[in-house]
Structure formats: structure tokens, C-alpha cells
Symmetry: D2
Subunit: 154 residues, 4 copies
């Protein structure tokens, strides 16, 4: 909604896509998915990747805490349409990871952008610091998880 | 958790199944999907059926208001596992519908119940009264929607 | 919305009242608080009572699991108005408690009902079974908590 | 959690404070308020200010759409503690407003920071573009609302 803003991201800028089903309550009184819900989707997509690669959210020794997040909104979405969250990893540190995410309409391969590609309805980021579950002090990422996350760097 | 309770429903007691992806925030501090979330799934499943059969939630002349709901919880579920909500319609009135719903683990076809079938992790119901969007007075269901809902009576 | 339904409860039918601030996202696309949100308020009110009387939701040996809940909706509410949840306890068993709840507009003392009293916008119930945090087997309520809950029986 | 980060904001950096009651479901599986919930509080606080100054979220000619938001998290919070959201306005444009928000423990006046003041558990921002409800094209802020928002510039 502003000339100064970077153009919306395209699907080829993300490495992995996770499907998200919208829910009735995602829409707010203005009829579209509420801005807050996108962050719930980010949490859902990122943790699904983490649990697939071995993070045990119930009993594991480390947990991922969000220390910063942000989102720019380009176009509305609404229940009941389904979405896909594209994920790439921008940086894997010793105990932290920065994810970058793009929200796309499900199945939308192309749109009318200059690139002829579907563009993101929203783009966000999310920084996890991994900490010891008990002490909540930063803790190094286990190597298998770090390797999996590095494979999502574009 | 009580001898007096009716045994959990089985999949063959429902007519249509809708997939629901769990979300990070569905789990509460005790590690499982919070009891409240099941109602959000019911709303999502029921309205997906309604919109498929022509209900326009944004501009249509009638809207469905929940006048009563309830749920019994049999077994825990947790993100990131996916679920399916089974739906049957118990009664279609002039302006009201009673839905009955069962929540099952996705893809779970069989389990160790006496019937050899998967049993519901939770069972609920939900009563919609359809009203005029402006006056909020009860309004007859449009015939195509009523017909579609009657096809979900078991 | 039905002749057969019991009239809405009045404030004198509840023992303790807890304030709840509504949130932007409580309203759904139809402009009023979504039916699901009332259950989130019930959870919030009940657990606030439990924690006040010693339940440690983070580390305590027992936790309360919801095994059944239900709600009847009488009148709409909407953000930004605030509400109060009235609570009474219907029954305290060895390891279970049945709470009954009424949702009222905050500060609303009187209304146009036959009794001249404010009537509930919604009435619900909620059954907790207390279980051991590890084994998830039913566990007797600690006596101080049971005593506190019995004081909420009307 | 990083040396490069600006120190957390103090209460004197905000102009208006709005109370927020936490809810059971605000806590996630790790025992603290989920990062997503802070954005729901921002929406709640900002829209409460807007409705107080005349925005009609149900029928008014203009609506506020979030085009960008972000949050940095400094310290955990958990239900059942209550919070206050401090708000200041950074900029009022013709049709847009940038709010900056700080989340504080309720009633916490002082803490151990270098300034001797309570510091924010989280700091965020939120940009609204006001648009025509029907066309969704940017629309000038009504003067009374613009004036009220300018009074929140620090």
C-alpha cells in the first residue's frame, strides 16, 4: 500500500511450503483474516519443521523462544480459502535461527505481478533463540537440527 | 473417564469428514489441545459445509448463529498431529440445524475399541439458528441449503 | 430463541464474579463475540479461581482436565464491551468438579426480565477431572482446594 | 537476549495505558504467553482507543487495516498475571497511523533497570492504513480521530 515498499515476494524465494487450513475465527469483523493470525501460522509452520527434525516440544532439553517477529501485509485472505506458508532460513547461529516466511493462497501458481508469478499476501520473519528448558539460558542447536535448518537457507 | 458415559462414537456414525490442521497455539500449558479449540474446529467444519452449499458469510441475506453447543472429551490430541472432524446432521428445522460432530486422529482407521474401529477423541454438537442478517429474526433456510444439510442426516 | 428453553439465569444464581476484558479478535465476521470465545472465558475464570486457591498450573502434582462442557447463548456481546463471568460450583467430587457459569455485561445490574434483574447473555458448564500430572490418572483434590470450591456451591 | 539490541523501553515512553486481562489460552506449551498473543493485545488496545474516539467498527465509513507490525520480546509473561499495554503514536499521516506499544506487568511501577524504572516485557509497533469500508481505498482520517491520535504523540 506504499510506493516505498519492496515488492511482495514470489514463491521462488522460499524453500519449503507448508499447508495451513484457515478457520472460521481467523476472519475478523472486517471480513478477512486478522493480522494476528498470520503469526499463529508462522509459529505453526516453523514448529512443524522443527518437530519433523527432532525437536521434542513436550520433553526435549531445549525449547525455541521467539525474541522478535514482524510482518508486512500485502493483500487480504479470508476463511474458507486455504493458504500455504513458504519458509526459508536466513541465518542459523549457534543458538538462534532467523526464519523468513511468505503466505500464499493455496494452489496459486501464478498471478499478475511483473514476474508473472504469484506474490505473497504477507511476508514475515521470526527469530528463535534456543534455550535450555529448565534454566532458559541460550543453548547450542543440536547438530541434526542445525543441519536441517541450514538446508532451508536459500 | 466415567463408567456412566456412553462409549465414544465411531467413524461410521458420521457422514462427512473434514480435515483440520492443528496449530502450535492449539496446545495449552498441559501439552494437549485445549478444550476450547475443539469448538473452533466445529465452527470451521460446519461453516465450510455451509459455504460449499451456498452460504455467503460476507454478504448473504441470512447468517447462522450458534444458540447452543457442547462437547465431551474422551482422549487427548496434540499439535502437530492432524485431525478430521466427522459431521452428521441430527435435525433440520425451518430455520435451525443441529449438527453432531466427532473428532478423530487423521488417517486413523482402526483402534482397539470393542468394535475394532477408531473411536472419537471428542464428540460435540452445535445448534445453528439462521436469522436475517439485518433484523436478526429467524429466517427459513434456503431450500438448496436445507437439502444439502438433510443429506448429512444419518 | 425457543419457547422450550429455561429462562436465562440471573446474577443472584452465581457466587463469584470475575471480570473479563473483551478483545478485538473475540468478534467474528458477524460482528459479535464468537461462540467459541465464551469457553475461553470459562477456562480463564475457573483457572483463576483454582490458582488463587493454590493450584500450580506449571509445576503442581495435579492438573485439571476438561471432560465435558456446554453453553447456551441468549444474547449477543461484542468487543469493546467488558463482561463478567459468574461462577457457582454444582458439585465437588473426590477428583472432579462441575462448574456452572453465567456471562453478564460488566456493571449491568438490572435489565428488563420478569425478575427485574440482569439476565445472562450465555450460560455454560464445565467439568474438570483432576489427574496426576505424570500418569494422567484421576487424583483426589487437595483438601484446601476442595474446601474453597465447596464454598462456591450455591 | 542480544548485546546489539536497544534496551527495553520504560513506562515514561508511553502516553496512555490500557489494562489487559490474560487468559488461560494465552500460555502456550512452554508455560508463558505465546508470542502471537501480544499482537492480539496490540489490536485490542489500539482499537479500544479508536472506538473511544468515534471509530464505528460495525457500520462506520472507514476501517483501519494493519499493513505492518512487529514485536521484540524481552521477558516472559504468564497467565494469570495481568498486563498493561502502553501506547504512543509515532506518526499520524493523512490516512495512516503508526502506533508504538510496550507491554508491562500490571501495577509494576519500578524494576531493577539502570533507570530504576519498570521495563517493557515486549515492545511492538503497528501501522494502520484507514480505508473506505466498501472500496478499501485509502481514506483520510476524520479530523476528531486524527486530533485524538496526535494527542498520543510523545
Amino acid at each position: 500500500m506504499s510506493d516505498e515498499r519492496t515488492p511482495p515476494a514470489t514463491r521462488d524465494q522460499y524453500v519449503q511450503f507448508l499447508p495451513i487450513g484457515t478457520r472460521w475465527a481467523d476472519n475478523d469483523v472486517y471480513g478477512h483474516v486478522n493480522n494476528v493470525v498470520y503469526y499463529a501460522w508462522f509459529d505453526t509452520a516453523v514448529n512443524r519443521i522443527l518437530t519433523t527434525h527432532g525437536l521434542d516440544i513436550h520433553q526435549g532439553p531445549i525449547i525455541g523462544l521467539c525474541v522478535e517477529s514482524g510482518c508486512r501485509y500485502h493483500a487480504p485472505l479470508a476463511y474458507p480459502e486455504d493458504v500455504e506458508v513458504g519458509v526459508r532460513v536466513a541465518k542459523v547461529g549457534r543458538s538462534s535461527v532467523r526464519y523468513e516466511l511468505g503466505v500464499f493462497r493455496a494452489g496459486e501458481a501464478r498471478a499478475s505481478g511483473a514476474t508473472g508469478q504469484a506474490t505473497a499476501a504477507a511476508e514475515g520473519f521470526f527469530v528463535h533463540v534456543f534455550v535450555d528448558r529448565q534454566t532458559r539460558r541460550p543453548s547450542a542447536l543440536p547438530e541434526p537440527l542445525a543441519t536441517a535448518l541450514r538446508s532451508l537457507v536459500r
